[in-house]
Amino acid sequence: MPTKIEKDEITGRETTGHEWDGVRELNTPLPKWWVNLFWVTIVWAVGYMVVYPSLPWVTGWFGYWSRAELTRSLEEQRGQRAGFVARIETADLAQIRADAELLNFALAGGRQVFADNCAPCHGAGGAGAVGYPNLADDDWLWGGGLADIHATIRYGIRNADTNSRISQMPRYGVDGILKADEIGKDADHVLSLSGAVAASPSTAAGATLYAEHCVACHGGAGEGNQELGAPRLNDRIWLYGGDRASVVKSIANARAGAMPAWEERLDAATIKMLTVYVHALGGGK
């Protein structure tokens, strides 16, 4: 009820009796059902608390659990994907790549798996980092064909897996095979292969050393050898840096990057999707 019934002089209407700094509120009564709706919402809220989990020790009559809903929806999605996964399992890599539907599925799935497992070293989108090959360029250590990539992912590089890709460059400096000035000359020759430095007496001297020590794996023109994972030296792509100091360091200490055998952690279909995804990053042969 109004606290004090007064009539407003101007409008002739009754006021609620409320006054703020001389401003009085006209009484425009609300319908009672409107107020009752407010009580209904409170009753509703109590009901809500009873049937749904609301407090740490209240699980609710419905037994609803958001975690269970998540699990159910994940199961549902797994079910929706099952058909595609089955087709990926039976198809070979070239077939996956040729089928627009499977390619799309493999690229979408591969992107997720890559982000979860590969991106920490190889970077988002396969951008790579020093010591971790860029997977988007057209230079490959162990081959960029679908089968090559598949094998690399399955068995890894320089790990305990029996099928692991493995090779080891001699440590020319550390093990005293070459002297420091010889390594410098050799480095000069290696850099001249891609035209990074011009020919000089040093590169000529380096060429002799190169022919003696390096040619077997890296090839006469520095074209590399993917059978052995021996990098191509006559291009503009340098895994450990293309300046003289980095090349000297590589010759002196040798390099031996390693990668796990993903077969131990990922299933066959996932590795296939990952293969197709990496192949599609831009460098696939």
């Binding site: 009484n27 009564p29 319908p31 970077g123 988002a124 951008a127 057209d138 696939g284």
Partner: protein, 492 residues
């Protein structure tokens, strides 16, 4: 406060009193005072019936109109296909990103409302608002079943019995049927009407359909049957800010106080000297759907329907006075009439003209946008990781995700080229050939978005970022689009 003492109206032996008048004491919350509008005939009532027939007719019939769009496309003239993400309006088909056309329509609707209100007050409220239209329809049904005002008052006061129960049940049943038809018609705008109708009755429609039919049935029944004028008074924001839309030149339902007062009963044959034309018959109050007394002046509750004008004109004819004691009139015209000055209504006023200008601009923008839109769109998203890739020959490659929106209902072959980059070579992921080329062919399926990964390689440029343009062209008319992007190289 002086208020005329209630007088017997001679209708039911009770005074005809407005809702405000019936609230003797004013607590903060009150029970609703039921309004029993009386039947009335006249020009405004006729217009109201015509508008009602047009609005409801359009609403119920439009989903059933067919429009042939060829195989595979829905043949409903007006359809909002939410799962399919398409809107169909006769020959126009819009995609989700073109929802601004609907925004444009809403802006036109809002400004149109302001425009009409500036001239004629709350015509929308009184004639075209769904709340008014359905309430009117429900009242018509109520009148058929329970009788006119006095019969209804009597029925409500009567003790419960078989006859009363039968009438009440019949009325509510009729209301629910109308409400269900309304809810049904609503879902037909979102799903194919003939199929959905069969599905609803065979029990095979989706849960969403039943939920929405149920929701709209409940809302129509509650709002038009029970809540009625309370929706306008308590819920709707429009009455609250309409005052800003009126001015002294707006035609508003007005009681011409200067002509009507002092009011009082009039015996046939007695003189009209020294008194007003209002015979205080209460007709204007009895017919009012919101239960107000228009003689109290401008009120928030008045929806501007003009039924009180019809009621008053009827009485004025009977007592032999001039019509128009209550009329659509402007404050300025009334002031002029009181002071006896000549008055000419200013039709051209700045505010409505500004509204009109806005409407013209919005309509022009919409029509232009509609006329210029092609049926192909090209979206290009450049890779952020990696920003660029250095290839073994020292050239630079950037990756792009290309989306082609083919709005035509036919397969389309397109050619994609890049402008503004010397020696650009394109490769498409998944294409049969791996050889980079200056132009590549892409295919888009009918009425869908085709997504491609495209690599662009070029010799290293002097700048680290080059502005380029992707151009898409096809053989069909209107099958061309372009999109600006950039090509990024390392700084050193």
């Amino acid at each position: 406060m002086t208020r005329p003492a209630p007088m017997p109206s001679g209708e039911a032996g009770d005074a005809v009193r407005s809702v405000r008048d019936q609230r003797a004491e004013l607590p903060l919350y009150v029970n609703r005072i039921k309004v029993y509008p009386r039947k009335v005939a006249g020009a405004f009532r006729r217009i109201k019936w015509i508008v009602l027939a047009l609005c409801l007719g359009l609403y119920y019939v439009v989903p059933w109109l067919r429009w042939d769009r060829g195989p595979g496309a829905p043949d409903q003239a007006v359809l909002l296909d939410l799962p399919g993400r398409r809107g169909y309006f006769l020959w126009i088909e819009i995609w989700p990103q073109e929802v601004y056309f609907i925004t444009g329509l809403l802006i036109l609707g809002a400004i149109g409302l302001f425009f009409v209100t500036a001239y004629f007050g709350r015509l929308w409220c009184g004639y075209a608002c769904p709340q008014t239209v359905w309430t009117d329809l429900f009242m018509l049904v109520e009148r058929w079943i329970e009788g006119d005002r006095n019969a209804r008052i009597k029925l409500d006061k009567a003790p419960w019995g078989l006859a009363k129960a039968a009438r009440k049940v019949a009325k509510h049943a009729a209301w629910v049927v109308i409400a269900a038809a309304t809810g049904g018609a609503w879902v037909f705008y979102f799903a194919d009407a003939p199929t959905t109708l069969v599905e609803i009755f065979s029990g095979s429609a989706s849960v969403a359909i039943y939920v929405f039919v149920g929701m709209f049935t409940a809302a129509t029944y509650t709002f038009a049957g029970w809540a009625r004028e309370q929706v306008c008074t308590y819920m709707c924001p429009w009455p609250r800010f309409q005052a800003a839309m009126f001015d002294e030149h707006s035609f508003i339902v007005s009681y011409r106080r200067w002509r009507g007062e002092p009011r009082g009963k009039h015996k046939a044959g007695s003189s009209w000297d020294g008194r007003g034309d209002c015979v205080d018959c209460g007709g204007c109050v009895a017919v009012c759907p919101t239960g107000i007394d228009i003689r109290d002046g401008q009120q928030l509750e008045c929806i501007g329907c003009g039924l009180c004008i019809d009621a008053c004109d009827e009485v004025m004819d009977k007592v032999g006075r001039q019509r128009g004691l209550i009329a659509f009139d402007t404050l300025a015209a009334q002031q002029a009439a009181i002071s006896g000055q000549p008055y000419r209504h200013p039709w051209i006023r700045p505010r409505p003209m500004i509204y009109l200008a806005i409407m013209v601009v919005v309509a022009a923008v919409m029509v232009t946008a509609l006329a210029l839109r092609g049926d192909t769109e090209l979206h290009v998203l450049r890779d952020r990781a990696p920003l660029f890739v250095t290839l073994s020959d020292g050239s630079i490659r950037n990756g792009y995700t290309i989306k082609i929106l083919n709005k035509a209902r036919a397969d389309r072959d397109y050619t994609l080229t890049v402008d503004g980059l010397a020696g650009a070579a394109l490769t498409v992921v998944g294409a049969a050939t791996h050889a980079p080329a200056a132009r590549v062919s892409l295919v888009a399926r009918p009425d869908s978005v085709a997504t491609y990964r495209v690599y662009v390689a070029a010799p290293k440029a002097a700048q680290d970022s080059v502005a380029i343009t992707f151009r898409l062209s096809g053989a069909a008319r209107g099958a061309a689009a372009s999109q600006a992007s950039s090509f990024v190289s390392p700084k050193r």
